[in-house]
């Protein structure tokens, strides 16, 4: 198996989860109700824990240790989709992003748990049970709020429209896409996307929300290879603020 292809995949998985975990953690103390405050914090802890598991696999393949990789790279070295780096905005945007992201992530984890590359298969099998709860949380809230007040429906619809160009770019193909598929690592991003559409459509159908015509949407590609919005670098600077006071110190 081409090691570069595996590393490329691992970076994408790890960076998505680190950055979304970081964003989720920003809800601590600010949630619309205490229970949501706590839920977003739980998901943040899971996501960052998952990113650590994938950075650890990278370290086993010869990359630097997880702290160095996570806390010292610049934005143009990150492989996350732009969706996860966008600011939290209001709760409706955070919830829609969580819904769109986790419904894709669970599919990726399901596929990877069957992967021909055993280290990834093991990690994905272990973690997918946690992602299942993230999906359950997102879908429950979308169903509840998406068929409640006019105000809530309008907010969610507008956030859905805003997030979709970024969400579709989660499926940006890897340079090694065909290789990964041929080697049985997983079925590839197109396959994830097809299944994702089915699942999010099924949830949205139970609400008063509408999925816009995706053919008219231009995905915001580029995140997988270092092209990011202006929001990522400040997030990384904040994350590394203490770490960089003395990168050799034990904190």
């Amino acid at each position: 198996m081409n090691e570069l292809a595996i590393k490329d995949l691992l970076y994408k998985l790890a960076d998505d989860q680190l950055i979304l975990g970081h964003r989720n953690s920003e809800w601590t103390g600010f949630g619309p109700i205490l229970e949501e405050d706590i839920a977003f914090s739980s998901m943040a802890q899971d996501k960052i824990g998952h990113s650590l598991a994938f950075y650890t696999l990278l370290q086993e393949l010869g990359e630097a240790d997880p702290d160095t990789v996570a806390f010292t790279r610049n934005a143009n070295q990150f492989h996350n989709s732009q969706l996860v780096e966008l600011p939290n905005g209001e709760y409706d945007f955070s919830l829609i992003r969580h819904f769109l992201y986790d419904n894709a992530e669970i599919i990726r984890f399901e596929m990877l748990s069957q992967s021909s590359y055993e280290p990834i298969a093991k990690v994905a099998t272990k973690l997918k049970g946690e992602v299942k709860y993230h999906v359950l949380h997102a879908n429950t809230w979308i169903k509840n709020l998406g068929s409640s007040t006019e105000e809530a429906i309008l907010r969610l619809q507008s956030s859905l429209n805003e997030a979709l160009p970024y969400a579709l770019a989660m499926f940006e193909n890897s340079k090694y896409e065909q290789e990964l598929i041929d080697a049985g690592v997983y079925a590839g991003e197109e396959a994830v996307k097809t299944e994702w559409l089915k699942r999010i459509q099924a949830v949205i159908d139970k609400t008063d929300l509408k999925l816009p015509d995706l053919a008219t949407i231009e995905p915001k590609f580029g995140g997988r290879y270092g092209e990011h919005t202006e929001h990522l670098q400040p997030l990384l600077d904040e994350m590394a603020e203490v770490f960089k006071i003395d990168p050799t110190a034990e904190w």
């Binding site: 619309p32 702290d67 006071i245």
Partner: protein, 328 residues
Amino acid sequence: MYGGGNVFEATKFDDVQVEDPAKLEEFEARIARGEKIEPTDWMPELYRKQLIRMIEQHAHSEIIGALPEGTWITRAPGFRRKMAQMAKVQDEVGHAQLLYSAAETLGKSREQMLTDLISGKSKYSNVFNYPAFTWADSNIISWLIDAGAIVNQMANAKGSYGPYSRALERICAEEAFHLKYGHDAVVHMATGSPKQREMIQAALNRWWPPIMTFFGPSDKMSTHTETLMRWKVKMASNDECRQQFLDMYVPKIWELGLTVPDPKLKKNMETGQWEFTEPDWDEFKRVINGDGPCNAERLAVRRTAEERGAWVRRALLNPKAKYVRPLA
């Protein structure tokens, strides 16, 4: 994270006299026997009022207390600290949730308590009106403020009101982990690079005066605690808590090679009591009444969170549902 001691000065005890003497006697006998009072049991109005106030202040202290440390979640250095800091602050928010439920059993809704917090009507632990300037400040809070909270809360867990006492038992179990986490972080700083040692000493210097006020004014200055003690609402005096805290933690601070910024601090071996520079109670009163370095900011954050989340709560509200008090 709550040190108590803020609440008692304004209690008016005249109301006790209007209670049915037979019921009052039975109530006091139950407490003397060590029984717990449950939400549907008879209780004097003053007991109810005082407990709502106390549990509510405790709950507010948890969510406001999440803010100074919360700002360091996104800046925590390295995976280990980042994950622990998140879990720790999440616990504090969880404590607020538990405590609001406990207070609700006495008849005040969470929504009303939050409204009173934002309007400035209800208080919270005064230490959170001080800023956490650096990562080291956050470590000092995790260690010493949580340590102080445990001293107070372990005492109050033996109190007479069932739902509060049970909530406190669960909270103390979690706070014990916070204390270990905070201590571990401080040890790393105090035994780390010169820069880290300088950061942690500076943070201790900043936090020592607020820590000394954490348990509230000296018993000489608070009045009317006798009834509250008899009813097992207040379980230990402010001075007792402060002495116990000093006994447990000053040696641990010294052990790390850190200094406490109070030249008068020492244990009097004859009396067994710690002597220290009297905290500035005028400043304490000024800050608790709104004029501290962070009061406005803390309440503004809470207000913004409430306002931004109002549409979610409106959407969740079922107009046909009848409000039911939790049983805790």
